[in-house]
Symmetry: C2
């Protein structure tokens, strides 16, 4: 079952204590797609500039990611520069050049409009809603957001959440959105604002997933070598939705499996800069690591 | 099987965003004992002042905690005052009056010297070693420490670790002790310095346990109401060692179960000030919550 994703495709320059990567492929929709494609075909809607190299277009295609909806506009591609410290928590943003992304007004290609699985990556909630209005009867709508939209457009975000089935956000964003210091209280509160499932990502500390009568908590996979956490959250969401689309049905057991698969896929993302490792990972490598995760957590 | 614990019994004054408790019963050995007694009898070695109320002595006795080794010395009981913020991370220490604890030189009562399970709570590693020298052939030695000893007596601490089977410490302490930013690397490094098992406590983010050929990771139990995190780590260790002593054998499966029991017991500690909730908890209440924990984490 194809998944529609709408978000950013960007160039990133990333500094970590282990090194630096200059102007590499990034963006929320990129990471999402590269993770989701492990499980299901992906239809990508985003905008890039004239400077976007054709080798990346080829890479998307080669990975089963349809780029009919990837518009190339006059101007330069969205550019972000960030720096991580030793603890790999929130990076310091050094530069944000929106470029062609500033005028992003996603038009969904006709052939994508019947998409059953829709992921609204972290963009302006007003745009997220505009995207949704173009889709005919989606089976599942998932979305992500960021601190910026929570503080600048909380009303629009809450309006969108009424139409969202699965909502992904970070622990700090969950606290910010609800003004709750306790994550369990925060998660339950967000659940009341609309989504059937709320997935709170805690980075190296794992995940808590809230749904009507269930809470699920999982630690993160244990990694000795983290090189670049950029895209961990988006590839987590990609693997999560990819797994759901592949399963074709949604219940608590499938949702929990999706969390674990997503946990595991995100570990490949952070083991290298950009999508260098993620783009190469195979389903059997994912399953191998999943087996190890079970050994780490069984009691 | 009786457990010997050597550590502090204190008065705490604790401020949290939810309220304040003045001069309540605290100290590492207190929390440890009150948790361990759920599973096994405890022999307590500590020192208090003349101001220590007899009702607390009665409480210890009533809970199966032997206080032959609890010395009452001229002077005042160890007093600590701390304040927690909304995130309940490390508290700000407002006052530390060591009082009689300044001259603590633990003498192990003759009848305790054959103890098979020994817990050296967070005190000067030199004293921890002095205690150990008094014990005849213990089956299992566990210890805890704190940032203060890591920075002021790293050599003595590392010397002690060669004689310790199970070592408990916080995530930040593990990083400090090893100068490793990555917890998995830190845990493995500590393992090389002596202990057979290293338990890294991550507070609300759970636990990672390292042993020779195994790593185990568990999330924390999900709590909506945390009132006072004081003693969470010591009651975690208490339940852990208590469970091992009750089991009588130690293998990976038992160790993992000990982590889960410890996780659960610590939740009762933080639900009230001091030992108000912990002292009342029964094994059947613990088992009920353990069942819920399994539901939270199964996949």
């Amino acid at each position: 079952m194809s998944i529609l994703v709408v978000g950013s495709v960007a160039f990133d320059t990333i500094k970590t204590p282990f090194g630096e990567a200059r102007k590499v492929l990034g963006g929320s929709a990129t990471y999402f797609s590269m993770a989701a494609r492990i499980f299901s075909p992906v239809n990508l809607v985003a905008v890039v500039g004239r400077d976007f190299p054709s080798r990346y277009l080829d890479l998307f295609r080669k990975k089963g990611i349809d780029i009919l909806g990837l518009k190339q506009a006059p101007g330069k591609t969205f550019y972000w520069e960030g720096e991580y410290g030793w603890d790999f928590s929130d990076p310091k943003t050094l530069t944000t050049d929106l470029n062609v992304f500033a005028d992003f007004n996603p038009k969904i290609p006709e052939s994508y409009k019947k998409s059953r699985y829709v992921f609204l990556a972290n963009i302006d909630p007003v745009l997220q809603e505009k995207v949704l209005a173009q889709i005919k009867r989606p089976q599942l709508v998932a979305s992500d957001t960021m601190n910026h939209w929570i503080s600048s457009k909380p009303g629009q975000l809450l309006k969108l959440l009424k139409k969202v089935d699965i909502f992904f956000l970070n622990a700090s964003e969950a606290k910010q959105l609800t003004s709750e210091a306790n994550l369990v209280k925060a998660g339950k509160k967000i659940l009341k604002s609309g989504p059937k499932v709320v997935v709170v990502k805690k980075g190296e500390h794992g995940v808590i997933m809230f749904s009507k009568n269930n809470i699920f908590t999982a630690p993160a996979y244990l990694l000795e070598s983290v090189y670049d956490p950029t895209g961990a959250g988006d590839s987590f969401a990609g693997a999560f939705i990819g797994y759901l689309a592949k399963s074709g049905k949604i219940n608590q057991a499938v949702l929990r499996k999706a969390v674990i698969y997503a946990n595991v896929v995100a570990t490949f993302t952070v083991e290298a800069f950009s999508i260098d490792r993620l783009a190469k990972v195979t389903i059997s490598q994912v399953k191998q690591r999943l087996k190890k995760f079970k050994q780490y957590t069984a009691f």
